[in-house]
Symmetry: C2
Subunit: 322 residues, 2 copies
């Protein structure tokens, strides 16, 4: 099997490739992995061919170049993040929506040339497709009414993907990933960045800004759970989705106050003191429209597995990254 | 006020223009109406300037040409119909989705040139944004999981429209029109065409094919109700939508058997005998995934009004068209 990872230099992309190289799809013989990102993915010293390519999917000819690799499985993780898409309207719609559309078109053309052999596309969507008001946990039949450009772009790509799949032009599904926490490394432009920052920076002896109230509730998965979702989806028979190709994934629902209490339990009071509340109206507004809790009944029934609680998410970070 | 109607030569477009010319928006002084369609809208002999333009919104430069008219209110009714969009994948995505996107972009550019004065766009979406399975009547928080390209295109345009409006780049809303019945004139390529055909043809002394089982339940509005929805939306303060700019509209839910019984009541047994059952698997499959009933609570609360029952829908047709 030949695998392509778009967004392979990102945090989840790197972990996904690593998992693929270490038995993450144990039933599958992997012959080749192609990694693609706007920055060159790091070189790897491994037994099977793992190629690295630098490029921007939104540029002319890039989608065709990738489709011509004739991969059997494509993880599409490439995205302009939420804060950036909100600030740069054109960039978000072009790099997220138009580029994904170009990819699906290129896959379709290539598939027609290859006698109909269709790759499977696992698209990383987001819970940002949902917007308030919410009445309790979001169930699997709740509407997409995104309150951010990022969410609108993800929802629109989901519609495209589902229609291309329904028409047999490709195979695939969209995974509405919870907010990934704790993200290692540096803060990014996502409006959700602080959810990781308030855990990560204190654990590294640094101060962290908390831009929202501690009553803010949100939906989380560890990076390892996210990789697990992607691998599980890649091995899932999409017929089981019965035409509804977007899935809300399981996660951990907790408030910022509960995040902080979990940090106190794991790392102590002095670490927690490094969290500094400092209201940011723009972030508060974006995050305030985000979902807080899900039933995730379908995905659980399909075998997707979440972290057990937020303490487990913190311990996962410490174990893997510190 | 300057008004632009896209799809003005269509059945609803013509009735809408007629209503606008006869006090349909009584609180509003209409200075000018521009009518646009792929076929030249018919000439009209009226007091105010009513222009007719022939063109295809999906062609280069057309969106800009229309935006440059600087209309205050735009009714966007132009669409490739469902059966056609299902058969011609590229045509549907290009003429429905890409062309609408180009229109929104052109409106945005023009508005920036005009110091931010934004037109209001009333977009005719469809209940085809919904796909089964359904659990009883569809409420206002039910997901869009379209099972046709037409429905996917409408849902994607709704997302775009909502995001452009949320960012203040234009104003507007999407109306998910029920299936319009009884459509006067000839059958079209919409998979829903027979719902009108089985009433219209017999009333005109002609045989009509019924391609689905008579237990098929569906959601209807008369052409006059549809025009009423459009006029009401045009006069509605979009702030009342609280960020959810797509509306399920009120309608009449009934089965084909109930349609037929209403026809028998209104026109007698000999007329009903002209309906000839003749199964069509492709139509049955498309229609079988369509919604059957709605709560339409939000739109009713906002003052949108439906027909009272299917008999009233038939009598409306007879009165207006025969």
């Amino acid at each position: 099997m030949k695998i392509l990872v778009l967004g392979a230099a990102g945090m989840i992309g790197k972990k996904l490739v690593n998992a693929l190289l270490h038995g993450g799809m144990s039933e599958t013989k992997i012959d080749e992995i192609h990694r693609y990102d706007v920055v060159m993915p790091p070189s790897l010293d491994v037994d099977i061919p793992v190629h690295a390519m630098k490029g921007d999917l939104s540029h002319e000819g890039e989608a065709e170049r990738l489709a011509a690799l004739d991969c059997d499985l494509i993880f599409h993780l490439a995205s302009i993040v939420s804060g950036d898409a909100e600030t740069n309207f054109d960039l978000g719609w072009s790099s997220n929506m138009r580029a994904s559309w170009a990819l699906f078109e290129a896959i379709r053309s290539r598939s027609a040339m290859n006698g109909g052999s269709r790759p499977k596309v696992i698209f990383s969507s987001s819970i940002a497709v949902f917007g308030g008001p919410f009445n309790g946990p979001i169930d699997d039949e709740f509407l997409c009414a995104p309150q951010s450009s990022y969410g609108a772009q993800k929802a629109a790509i989901e519609l495209l993907l589902a229609d291309y799949c329904r028409k047999g032009l490709m195979d695939g599904m969209s995974l509405r990933l919870p907010t990934i926490c704790v993200r290692p490394g540096k803060a990014n432009l996502a409006a959700s960045s602080f959810f990781s920052g308030i855990i990560r920076e204190p654990l590294n002896g640094l101060e962290a800004v908390l831009p929202v109230e501690d009553t803010t509730r949100h939906w989380f998965a560890s990076p390892e759970s996210a990789v697990g979702f992607l691998l599980h989806a890649a091995q899932l028979d999409t017929e089981l989705l019965k035409g509804r190709r977007s899935l809300n994934l399981p996660g951990v629902s907790c408030t910022v106050a509960e995040q902080i209490e979990a940090l106190r339990t794991v790392a102590g009071n002095d670490v927690v003191k490094l969290i500094k509340p400092q209201a940011d109206e723009q972030i508060r507004k974006i995050v305030g429209a985000w979902p807080e809790d899900f039933t995730a009944s379908r995905s659980k029934a399909l075998g997707f597995q979440a972290d057990s609680n937020f303490e487990a998410i913190i311990r996962n970070y410490i174990e893997r990254e510190l």
